[in-house]
Symmetry: C2
Amino acid sequence: MTSSAEENYLKAIYKLHEKSGNMVTTSALAETLKVSAASVTDFIKKIASKKLVSYEKSKGVKLTDKGRLIAVNIIRKHRLWEVWLVNKLEFKWDEVHEIAEQLEHIISDDLVDHLDKHLGYPTADPHGDLIPDSKGRFAKSNSKPLLECVKGEKVKFIGVADHSNNFLQYLTKNNLSLGDEIMVEAVEEFDNTFTVRVNRKENKIFSKEVVKNLLVAVV
Amino acid sequence: MTSSAEENYLKAIYKLHEKSGNMVTTSALAETLKVSAASVTDFIKKIASKKLVSYEKSKGVKLTDKGRLIAVNIIRKHRLWEVWLVNKLEFKWDEVHEIAEQLEHIISDDLVDHLDKHLGYPTADPHGDLIPDSKGRFAKSNSKPLLECVKGEKVKFIGVADHSNNFLQYLTKNNLSLGDEIMVEAVEEFDNTFTVRVNRKENKIFSKEVVKNLLVAVV
DNA sequence: ATATACATTTAGGCTAACCTAATTATACTT
DNA sequence: AAGTATAATTAGGTTAGCCTAAATGTATAT
Ligand SMILES: [Mn+2]
Ligand SMILES: [Mn+2]
Ligand SMILES: [Mn+2]
Ligand SMILES: [Mn+2]
């Protein structure tokens, strides 16, 4: 009923909407899905006729409730598989995305339930992204970029805004992992370079580009 | 490069050849893959041109070494996933085949390696079928149907010849599991009904139809 | 208000993997 | 050896998901 292609379109629409808040454009979808704009227009018409998206010609698309539920379910599966790959199979957090892109399309509600249980009902994936429940509901999150913190603030590193392998590997190289406690020791006014104390041990220095992408929660 | 469809054709050819020892016919493939004979002929021509099978028109197909390696690799993945589903996710042995049919097509050598390690390098799947190594080699097996055993023989139950859910559920209902020790107490000459002692405890009675499909090894 | 740039849609095509109906090849019976 | 049943192939089509090139729409700058 729902093909992998369809699942990928719905997921992409969901994520692009999440990012911009607006209707999702043909060109944005073409870009993220690496297909031509013409293919996107074609496909959109198909899923619009299935009531998975609402489509305003030349303006863009928005998910319907039906479409969003499918999208969120794929995201749920993707994140559960990533947890499995990292926690059980000992993959690194920068090695799991591509494999999860395939695994997320496996169809079996039973499998998802068993996997969820096997993993101890995790609430976040290895990158700190929240895992929705089977009804498509997300927990409330109160994270913010470290960039928004001020000197003296003590926070916990709970997620990344940039999921690129480059960034993940940069953090690994600098020994920063999810769960680490971060104490803001100094903020350079001029360029927003942060000096932070990690886990009450060494001081580390991070550029604005980095702290912008570190998501933290007040402890 | 290798689509799921192609993998399924190669796997089907491998299994049908294993069963009959002969070239695999168009109609046998159509039957197992649930597609029309015309589709099979089409597809065979394609994989023959890729040197994955050798094809004699109107006679049948045989795997080449290249084709066999792909087939065996899919079987390896299928069986590893089944082990995972049963040993780690607590599925029953009659619940895993369909899910493994999907999982076997996930493409990542790294994933297979990590999974194999996670499972402790298993040599057989939940139905007792041998798991080939990554080079496509199978261990030697010396199993035989319980039907071929004689009174007084003590053996171990190590596999099933019939993989149907009906048979697997029959065995579950009768508390017979892989690894059980079986002592042949009596064989009824007339209809080959077996009376066996399981794990030095209760006696059980199995029909010829059943013992034909129980694979055992001398202990 | 018009020109220009850029985004989107339409038109027409392609390939993989299937199908049915018609034809041809092989095997079995008398 | 011819006739009949069955298996396999060929011919001609379909659908999903993609493509390029051409046409149309929309936004921005003068
Ligand atoms: Mn991911
Ligand atoms: Mn993730
Ligand atoms: Mn199986
Ligand atoms: Mn099996």
